[in-house]
Assembly symmetry: C2
Homo-oligomer: 534 residues x 2
């Protein structure tokens, strides 16, 4: 049996583009005559459509596009495509849709499976739009084999009362395919393999932890790739055979290829800092490109946070689409600005310097000494910098990239409408300690195409070695031991707990731009914390 996985990068709501992408992918492997070409979950409308699904005209348009795709796919090998259709039942103030895997062949389509497990934790809100399938549909016949189809959460059934994989095996499935839109999180690939293994062995625990003798059933996991707002879909589709991963698609890239159960694993492992780096690059690139944002601006302070963001942006968008802006004040070490300039020069991105002093002085005079002293004065500087950065965005178009890290954000150690500004935050889900490791990895491993790098790496040594400082007053050093406080704050976030500093800054994070999610729990729509609470 020859199976093609089509790990493609769709865009939410771009029905025409998504359909074209599906057809192009199918055509690109058609001459290899696969028995089935498998696409990710909700391929036609893109993922996650969220509340656009409340718009009934959109729901209709997706159904038309799906039918149209099936017709256009006539003559191509059979496709397994994700889309949706109205459920039989209707719910109060609810789109009442079924999340469906369609088998498309000979110009027609039929329902291969209806998703039964609808996740409602973290960034998932699927019961808001979808109704669960009420039974597992039997395997479909592909090249004489019984193929059981599942949709994403259906394979994470361990703690649900319903078990679609076991149902499919009971109905004689000889192979399982799961079409997914599974967002990236650091090291999350292992969980997918684990759950795939669970599916092919018994649903009940195997006799020993690795007793896979019970079955040789292949399992195919096809995932979405690409960024959409907060979420990064890392791809990493794979095939399991004899409960071992025998083939794997590239991570963080579109990948359309024919898999064979006799394949052996050939792709390069992406792990650790490289994995996070590539995830952030994909998330930032897709945010810019899918929103047609040509140019990105970054405040370059000569600190490690903004330096790491600049490298990510240069890799994501290409050097010519990125400009770093240094805005030194009376408190800025001359070496900070020099390091920013050096970094920009090594990266080949644009670089501008705007002196803050004149605005700073005018602001102090306008608001008076009482309101420009202490923290108030520090906030004024951060906010004046925002004005300068946004003036570049206004003039040239594009967007501002935020340079906050997760530890700062958790502590509230950042200025609302100041350094918290920016449409998207690449490091907002990366703790300060992780970010320092990312900086080191960049300096050791990251190669940009031209090879123009400093001796010790692209980020200047002064930046790597200095003590963290916001440089908002003379001789300021951040009042935290980040190696200690980073994991402490992260533990609170992951356990959905908080300390007084976190609670007092909840209203600030509510007003943040998008934070690219790379951990189990990021600041964003996956964290619905009240501001008002005791």
């Amino acid at each position: 049996m020859k199976l093609a996985i089509a790990q493609i990068n769709t865009t939410v709501g771009d029905l025409e583009g998504n359909v074209r992408r599906i057809l192009d992918a199918a055509k690109s492997v058609a001459d290899q005559k696969p028995d089935l070409i498998v696409f990710p979950e909700l391929t036609v409308c893109g993922y996650p459509p969220r509340d656009i699904l409340y718009d009934s005209s959109f729901v209709e348009a997706v159904q038309h596009a799906t039918l149209d795709l099936a017709r256009q796919a006539e003559g191509l090998p059979p496709l397994l495509v994700g889309s949706f259709a109205p459920a039989e039942q209707k719910m109060y103030q609810h789109p009442s849709l079924n999340n469906i895997a369609y088998l498309m062949q000979n110009g027609e389509m039929k329902i291969a499976q209806v998703k039964q497990l609808l996740p409602v934790y973290d960034v998932f809100y699927e019961p808001r739009w979808f109704l669960a399938g009420t039974k597992t549909l039997p395997p479909i016949n592909i090249a004489g084999k019984k193929v059981g189809v599942m949709i994403c959460e259906d394979m994470w059934d361990e703690e649900y009362p319903v078990h679609p994989g076991a149902d499919l095996k009971a109905m004689g499935a000889e192979m399982l395919i799961c079409i997914s839109a599974s967002p990236y999180r650091r090291g999350g690939g292992e969980g997918r393999v684990h759950h795939a293994e669970r599916q092919v062995v018994s649903i009940r625990p195997a006799k020993s932890a690795r007793d896979y003798s019970t079955t040789e059933m292949p399992f195919v996991f096809v995932n979405l790739v690409g960024g959409n707002d907060e979420l990064i879909f890392d791809g990493g589709s794979f095939m399991l055979h004899g409960a071992e991963v025998v083939a794997e698609a590239e991570k963080f890239e579109e990948n359309v290829k024919v898999f064979n159960t006799k394949d052996t694993k050939g792709t390069k492992e992406v792990q650790g800092e490289e994995e996070v780096f590539r995830a952030l690059v994909l998330g930032l690139r897709d945010f810019a490109d899918k929103n047609h944002l040509r140019h990105a601006f970054i405040g370059l302070s000569g600190g490690i946070d903004s330096s790491v963001v600049a490298v990510i942006a240069a890799e994501a968008l290409g050097r010519e689409r990125v400009t770093g802006v240094a805005i030194p004040s009376r408190f800025t070490d001359a070496r900070s600005t020099e390091s920013a300039r050096e970094l920009a020069s090594r990266l080949g991105i644009g670089f501008e310097v705007v002196e803050l002093e004149r605005m700073h002085k005018a602001a102090e005079q306008a608001v008076g000494p009482k309101r420009s002293d202490g923290v108030a004065g520090e906030n004024i500087q951060a906010r004046l910098r925002m004005i300068i950065l946004m003036s570049f965005v206004n003039q040239r178009g594009g967007f501002l990239i935020n340079t906050s890290n997760k530890t700062e954000l958790a502590l509230g150690y950042s200025t609302l409408y100041g350094d918290m500004a920016g449409a998207i935050s690449p490091l907002g889900d990366v703790t300060k300690a992780e970010m320092i490791r990312l900086g080191k990895w960049i300096n050791e491993e990251w190669k940009e195409e031209s090879g123009k790098r400093g001796e010790g790496g692209v980020i200047p040594q002064f930046v790597m070695e200095r003590k963290p400082s916001a440089e908002l007053r003379a001789d300021q050093v951040d009042p935290f031991d980040y190696e200690k406080i980073s994991p402490d704050m992260e533990a609170l976030v992951l356990s959905n707990q908080s300390n007084p500093a976190m609670r007092a800054s909840e209203h600030k994070r509510w007003q943040m731009g998008l934070v690219l999610k790379v951990s189990e729990k990021s600041f964003g729509r996956g964290r619905l914390m009240p501001i008002t609470r005791r």
Copy 2:
């Protein structure tokens, strides 16, 4: 049968305070010897706790507080109180709780009902934390009567497959009580009465629209009152008898009183603009008080939006806790600042004037002519104003109130980090046209205690009569016919549709502070729209 309704104002997470408030309410009516005292949904933990429920230590604390309350209530009349407990089933990454109405009497508690209908539309995400009760529990016995208990959405069962009210009647209920945490929306009270009526007549449509001859069963609706973040709970608890409202609690106020099925309606109707005004006052007051924010600052432009906000703030917090700040620029009509001063003086709130020119000029020089021209230059002014306003917040403590209206926000006709700044937005869910009506109502009807008002009302006539203008350039007038565009934009929001201006400004609204919800669909957590989409 004597029933007390306890329409109280709880705070999310304030277990000690909520328990005390429950006991105080019970004691205040104990001497009237009611047969039952009824509290709102999730009384003990406050509503909505949202993702705090992911914190297992919080879940435990609530259970302890609930048990403790039952013990402390010994000797008081029986209480019907909302809380939660772990469900029998456990779900993946899910707190797996049941939303429960407890009957507390003689120092003990027992489960009176488990909520079965868990709303998952708009601002509701209940399946994220709760599991539905799997069957309707039979009526409880109160003073020899069978009393059927329901929880909030349980009475809105029209389009659900489960019908708790019908079940209770089939089990012999002689009276129905629904404990609720039902958020305010303009005119939403009618929906509640409609659904209460539906419950006491047959679940199937009555023969004629008003054929209530089938039953004389009383229905008691007890609602939460108070603000929490975006949500305003308006109270308005009522009793239906013979399918007519016979008694009603005050709206927008705590109200603990003994109801009788022989009561006749005595409370003053609150409708139209007054209803919205009082909702916004409650929402703003509770945001400030529950977060211990002493003072509020408002940018007073001499336009109608900020004038209306100032009146709401003065009513909500008291004049001594509000300061208006006028920040005239080279483009500001002298009458704008004079009107702002006059309004502040009539309201008796604090008033400050800070001239923008010096900062404006310094900013223009710092960023250069190319980046301080046109829209870029307009944004600079709006953002400099934010800096000045936030400097007051930084110096004195408190918070900035946002003055945007819903029509502007929908159109994206506002500056991110500029006039979009502010922790909370009283008018962000009020269209420009509605807001003008609200301004007229204020001038005609609103009486402040001291009676100090101008001839035609508290808002100066110049403000009421001028053409809307942001005054960000010479002779600027807003390029919209608000009477026409307000309902058009509102229709798009309500239908979850969008036009290009709305889509292009989605990232700006993502970064807004809290918007007090008064319509069916507000900008906030009840609207999960992707930024990246086609």
